[in-house]
């Protein structure tokens, strides 16, 4: 899926290379052509040397310059210095042996530059494609002036409470509440969800969404810097603070790699000739020094280093395109090793919204029972009352509802059209003297009595999200071994939900603090520390659990600062299927990272060994070195395209 408009296709065609890259490409081509031309020129001696120094200089003058800087700043193991020593050494050997073969030194310089150029081009290109993905913060807001004109201003300067106007096709710059107008919003940039969301008056809208159809007047509720789009961008840019083990490994490796190779090169240049000399044979200085110089050609760790952060960056980009924000590449790594996933029930696997799921009247029809109950709960702020009103939307008819009395822990009584109606739990029924019966269904049971006589009950329960079962099946396919559910709800309800979703273990009737203890138990239970545990919650009052788990995943991050703050991974919408998406992306990304580490280090080692035995020459070494880098970079770029 490529979200590319005409404008972006045009820029892709034009400004592919930055000026530096263009200049370097010209240098590479010029030096290459010149070398080929010189090959057909029958010159010898000093003139030949001087002529060949021209392409060498064109290809490598910046390397030579940097090498001198390296010496001045006491950076003896600077890559440029090593490249200079290797190529200059090859030239000196060619002069000394009177072979006149300067092409090797030029080729090494040239291929090194080609490698650098390719790397810079590839990195620049993926940087751009990810930047496009992150291009969610608009650079202006339309503010209405006193005479009703629209003025474009910097969103940073818009104060909280200002009325801004968002025209169709524009991006929402700042979080706010719709004052007038209706429209549908494309939230894909934030959530990865392609179905537009309808908004009307009093709805909250978030920056980064695109207004599709109608004109919206919005009162801002946050500053630009605190708005969703800015927060999301900040989070992605800060991801470097949490480096993965692979990244730390490779930067440590890079730090010892160069000195080690240089040490080996020195040893190779000195030890064998001295040993040969001592044993009375010819020392063969030239051969061994040449082999040592081959070592220096592959001493630059850049190829190795670049592909790892590139893979992670691309992986994080791919995830955020799906509406999954990962706060650091270490979490991507941990996610790929997750074997136990602990779910909070309410708001995570279920919608956390209570709905009337059954109505069991005794001697009237279902509508009548709902009608009465909705009247009694007319003014209650309890979530149960809201769900009753939702089930009976035309509650405000001309029935008279008087004397509403709320009895804490029991329910509500009221006079409806002259009858005393009681709506509440079993205790309320006992209190009004009604003979009630329990229900076979799970959920909250709301009994209704009219003038002390039992009239039936209404079952209200939480509804399972449509993707929950599929999400758990998908997670199992992607390496999850155990699904655990924690909930504060009763045992019967919890086990019903768990059975329906295929959850392995359930812990019910937990208080919030018990959840931390349970997660700690589960953490202690694992056989090895390598099997990670992830906790998925909705970010509401489960911050301690999110923090305690190896990976804390919060759902419904859009608009919820608490969730964004507490979690390691934030799912922008509340679709549980996104958890398995994140796990799949992490698995693929980590596989690519491992491939690159083994492949790059492996090829370098083989080159070193072949070089030491004189089987490979400088040509081969630089070919292998640049080749492995190109392949590693191309492999890393695959991470962007993980769906």
């Amino acid at each position: 899926m490529k979200r590319c408009t005409g404008a972006c296709a045009r820029t892709e065609g034009e400004a592919e290379m930055n000026p530096k890259q263009k200049k370097n490409l010209v240098r590479i081509l010029a030096a290459g052509l010149m070398t080929v031309a010189l090959h057909f020129l029958p010159v010898t001696g000093l003139l030949r040397f001087l002529l060949y120094m021209l392409p060498y200089g064109i290809a490598g003058y910046d390397i030579l310059f940097k090498a001198i800087c390296g010496i001045k700043n006491r950076q003896p193991l600077d890559e440029c210095l090593l490249m200079t020593v290797a190529t200059a050494g090859a030239i000196v050997l060619a002069l000394y042996q009177r072979s006149g073969d300067y092409v090797e030194a030029i080729a090494v310089m040239l291929f090194y530059q080609i490698g650098e150029w390719f790397q810079s081009f590839a990195v620049g290109k993926s940087r751009k494609s990810i930047a496009e993905l992150m291009d969610i913060a608009p650079d202006y807001a339309n503010v209405e002036t006193e005479n009703g004109q629209l003025e474009q201003v910097d969103p940073d300067e818009v104060a909280v409470g200002t009325i801004i106007v968002i025209r169709p096709g524009e991006r929402v710059p700042i979080d706010g509440v719709v004052v007038s107008g209706t429209s549908s919003l494309n939230t894909a940039a934030l959530t990865g969800e392609s179905v537009p969301r309808d908004v009307a008056e009093d709805d909250e809208i978030f920056s980064g969404c695109i207004n599709l159809s109608g004109l919206l007047r919005v009162q801002t509720s946050k500053e630009f810097g605190e708005s969703t789009a800015s927060k999301v961008l900040e989070l992605i840019e800060d991801a470097s603070l949490h480096k993965s083990r692979s990244e730390s490994f490779i930067s440590k490796f890079a730090r010892i790699y160069t000195p080690a190779v240089v040490g080996a090169a020195l040893a190779l240049a000195l030890i064998p000739p001295i040993v040969l000399l001592l044993t009375g044979s010819k020392p063969l200085w030239g051969t061994w020094i040449y082999r040592a110089l081959t070592f220096l050609v592959i001493s630059c760790p850049c190829a190795l280093v670049v592909s790892i952060p590139l893979s992670f960056f691309a992986g994080l980009g791919a995830a955020s395109r799906q509406g999954v924000l990962i706060k650091g590449s270490n979490y991507l790594e941990l996610l790929s090793e997750t074997r136990t996933v602990v779910f909070d029930k309410t708001g995570t696997l279920t919608r956390g919204v209570f709905e009337v799921t059954a109505v069991h009247p005794d001697n009237m029809d279902e509508k009548q029972l709902l009608h009465l109950a909705a009247h009694v709960e007319r003014y209650s702020r309890h979530p149960i009352a809201a769900s009753l009103r939702a089930a009976y939307p035309n509650e405000a008819d001309n029935c008279s509802v008087e004397n509403i009395v709320e009895i804490a822990g029991h329910g509500i009584t009221a006079n409806v059209n002259g009858d005393t109606v009681a709506v509440g739990n079993g205790r309320l029924m006992d209190r009004v003297g009604a003979v009630w019966r329990s229900c076979h269904k799970d959920g909250t049971i709301l009994h209704v009595a009219i003038n002390g006589a039992y009239a039936g009950h209404i079952v209200i329960s939480d509804v399972i999200k449509p993707h929950s079962a599929l999400a758990i099946r998908e997670l199992r396919r992607n390496g999850m071994e155990q699904a655990v559910m924690l909930t504060g709800d009763g045992k019967a309800v919890a086990e019903g939900v768990a059975a329906e979703l295929g959850i392995d273990r359930v812990y019910s009737e937990l208080l919030p603090q018990d959840k931390v203890a349970k997660v700690e138990e589960l953490l202690a239970e694992r056989e090895t520390k390598r099997e990670k545990l992830a906790f998925v919650g909705d970010g509401m009052n489960d911050a301690p659990v999110l923090a305690r788990a190896d990976v804390g995943i919060a759902m419904g991050g859009i608009g919820s600062d608490a969730a964004i703050e507490a979690a390691d991974i934030v799912l922008m919408d509340d679709d549980p299927l996104k958890i398995s998406t994140a796990v799949r992306i992490s698995g693929k990304c980590l596989r690519i990272v491992r491939e690159n580490i083994f492949f790059a280090i492996g090829i370098k080692l083989i080159c070193l060994i072949l070089g030491a035995f004189g089987i490979s020459n400088m040509w081969f070494a630089i070919f292998a070195d640049v080749g492995v880098m190109v392949l590693a970079v191309l492999n890393a770029i695959r991470c962007i395209h993980i769906q």
Binding site: K66, C69, N73, Q75, E79, E116, Q119, S120, V123, S126, R127, I130, I236, E237, D238, A239, S240, L241, K243, S251, A254, R255, C300, P301, C302, V305, V306, I308, P309, L310, F313
Partner: protein, 72 residues
């Protein structure tokens, strides 16, 4: 106090070196370079003056990699 700076550097290994160089600069508590985002995040020690510390950070980075830039 933490601050974020834009940087420019060509290779990933050099970015790592910049991170080390910046981290060793007096007044810097910790520094982290994001090569892909071209950002350097610096946490300063208490009482350090970011402006003057960053001048030093820039100088130290230039020392190890003449081709890099820290935009202050």
């Amino acid at each position: 106090m933490k601050k974020s700076y834009k940087i420019d550097v060509d290779c990933a290994a050099c970015a790592d070196k910049m991170e080390v160089a910046a981290g060793k600069t007096p007044g810097v508590k910790s520094a982290s370079v994001n090569f892909m985002a071209l950002k350097m995040k610096v946490e300063f020690e208490d009482g350090a003056d970011p402006a003057s510390v960053m001048q030093e950070v820039r100088k130290n980075c230039k020392k190890i990699e003449s081709d890099c830039e820290v935009f202050l």
